[in-house]
Symmetry: C2
Subunit: 87 residues, 2 copies
């Protein structure tokens, strides 16, 4: 499946979140990752993030798409991580 992950972690935990997400997904903007991932790897990613986050203060939202067939991506301004289109 294809996912878009956005997180808002406390300053002391941001570096850990970045390190974990980089193992599974592609960084596209501050606190924003995207990419294709298997169900198994998705479980590992969420488990690792849950271990380092403070659930009372940190926020993690993961949008999951079984298909990119219906999506498009518009980038305006600086493309922080020049990636080809997700379709």
């Amino acid at each position: 499946m294809f996912v878009i992950l956005v997180y808002d972690f406390g300053e002391r935990r941001v570096a850990k979140a970045l390190k974990i997400c980089r193992k599974y997904l592609t960084w596209i903007q501050n606190s924003v990752f995207e990419g294709d991932i298997t169900e198994g790897k998705f479980k590992m990613l969420t488990l690792e993030l849950e271990r380092v986050m403070d659930k009372d203060n940190d926020s993690l939202i993961i949008f999951q798409f079984r298909s990119k067939r219906y999506s498009d991506r518009l980038v305006i301004g600086l493309e922080k991580n020049s990636l080809n289109h997700i379709i």
Copy 2:
């Protein structure tokens, strides 16, 4: 269509971006908005944001989905803007 919008603007322009996005979409996390929007309103939103952004330094990514039928949304930790599921 349904969109997920993420932006990374210079500090002096963040407040303007927030104000503009709030007119069209729902705030769900720092610099992250989502929501259903018409093609017409989408054009107005992107035009307004382009007017306030510094394209050499600011980054705006808008994921567009013609259908939410294939998506799911997992929220872990603090739900900064308690919204029902997007399906």
